[in-house]
């Protein structure tokens, strides 16, 4: 019965978030920020002259990258479509910048999920249901995650199209990997933290005020996530390390793995700690 309850709560949370326009606003913000930063990437690409890493490199325009002599290209980048590779740099720049904007927006627009139950005076009804604290919290978090997942899918499709239009051809595998293993986990992290850390407030206004306190913590964690996860392009090719200012050689993979390994305990730990805080608060409240 608990799984059914959790999924039902999540479904109705998504429906209600959509109807009170939170999801719609988030979606618009997400698409707008992708469009904005993709456009900046386009302008940068048009005006940039690139110097490849390594000795003997000479400045080259993007369209000339694929015609460079082999000795002007570092060993680890030979055989790579450099034009495609460089344009793909705009993908990561766009997604990283959009993620920072979205981190802020998510905290401000998903914090109301639990406080609204009290503001609407529905909480007493829910408390009288055979619904455990775990199921209640899980339903709320999953509801927010479901909504964020839905808008992220749309944003991913939008970004795939808009980046193709503005930047030209890029590595689609790189975009897919960044969405699945970088953008989405950090979006869900921000949403989970926002729901759990504001769960003890009683009104939407209280949740917004609490969010202002929570925001720096979430942004710090998202920034940590960006630093550790944004390099996952190296799993497609080490050359993608260049986009996050790492040396694109064989050590890049190890460096990125090390960063992820170092950051994961903090990122997961913050989520677990927030869950424990929210759970403890529920328990304290019930004990009164």
């Amino acid at each position: 019965m608990t799984a059914r309850q959790i999924l039902t709560m999540a479904r109705f949370e998504m429906l209600m978030a959509f109807r009170r326009r939170s999801l719609v606003i988030l979606q618009v913000l997400f698409l707008a920020s992708i469009l904005f930063f993709a456009n900046i990437s386009r302008e940068t690409n048009q005006t940039s002259v690139i110097v490849l890493p390594g000795e003997g490199s000479t400045p080259a325009r993007i369209e000339d990258l694929n015609t460079l002599p082999e000795d002007a290209i570092p060993v680890w980048m030979r055989g790579v479509d450099l034009n495609l590779w460089y344009r793909s740099g705009g993908v990561s720049t766009t997604l990283i910048a959009a993620l920072i904007i979205m981190g802020i927006a998510i905290v401000m627009f998903t914090n109301e999920s639990i406080p609204l139950d009290r503001q609407y005076r529905v909480r007493e009804l829910l408390d009288a249901m055979p619904l455990s604290r775990t199921a209640y919290l899980a339903g709320k978090v999953l509801g927010v995650w479901g909504g964020l997942l839905a808008i992220s899918v749309l944003a991913a499709l939008f970004s795939a199209v808009i980046l193709r239009i503005l930047l030209g051809p890029y590595d689609l595998r790189y975009l897919a990997l960044l969405w699945l293993a970088f953008e989405l986990p950090l979006i869900l992290l921000a949403g989970g933290l926002a729901v759990l850390l504001t769960s003890w407030t009683r009104t939407r206004r209280g949740a917004v005020l609490m969010s202002l306190l929570v925001l720096p913590i979430v942004i710090l964690l998202v920034a940590l996530g960006i630093m550790s996860l944004s390099g996952i392009g190296v799993f497609i090719h080490p050359a993608y390390a260049f986009h996050i200012l790492l040396s694109p050689d064989e050590s890049a993979v190890e460096v990125v793995i090390g960063r992820i390994r170092d950051a994961l305990p903090t990122l997961l730990g913050s989520l677990i700690a927030s869950w424990c805080l929210a759970y403890g608060w529920q328990r304290l409240r019930e004990g009164r």
Binding site: R4, Y120, V122, R123, D127, A128, M129, P130, R288
Partner: protein, 296 residues
Amino acid sequence: MIEITDLTKTYNRSVHALNGVTLTIGTGMFGLLGPNGAGKTTLMRILAGLLRPTSGSATIFGNDVATLRGRMGVKALLGYLPQELGLYPNLNALEFLDYMAILKGVNDARQRRAQIDRLIQQVHLDDVAQRPLKTYSGGMKRRIGIAQALLGDPRLLIVDEPTSGLDPEERIRFRNLLVDMAQDRAIILSTHIVEDISQSCNDLAVMRGGRVIYRGAPADLIEQAKGHVWIVKGQRPDEQLILVSSLQMHDGVHYRAVGDASRYPGAVAAEPSLEDGYMWLMQDKRAGEREAARQQ
């Protein structure tokens, strides 16, 4: 069967909301009367598993509300209508009831749909069932609250001020619905509206100051007031009498009062109602408390 033994609830170590309540409640309609702050809502919230008692015990169909397992057991059998009912404004009635039904464990979709349709009809909201709840009036919201309490065919129904905000016709309809349902389940009805109790309950408790000060049949409470209810014509009774009602008639104002009004010329003894019995009981307890305070 609900067994409540010496139940107490203290807030902040000093406010005694319940003070040694002992009651046994069987199936059927059970009324709970009392002034504001008497402890009715606290008692009902404990029985609904929303609050933990400070001491004492309450067992509901074998589930002890002092334990988490017991409270979850109670909630699985419970239909609850709180005094301050809230609804999700962006859902319509069908969606809201569907949501609540699944949380209550009504998992079969066809059964759930049938229950919701039946309840929507019973509370006369079928015409507006698709409208968002934020567009409902206070009475309509109350009726949705009643419908959600009846979802899942609960063995125990706890309703706190269920008829406040309902028009007279709806109130009567709801009372009758409760009485119909009470044949094979326990229904605890807390209200300030004495008429709701007199028309539907054959067993009641009156609470005051966190204690049960009367337990028995409404008829016995009425009987206690016999000889103490008067109609006084023309002259307003003084403060020694409790004025229950006043009615402008063709020959002047008729005052209905509880106490000893034999000294008033033209005072006529009247048949007591449950409201008179309640007022007499309250006056009697107040006098007893004053006397006890004086002796201390």
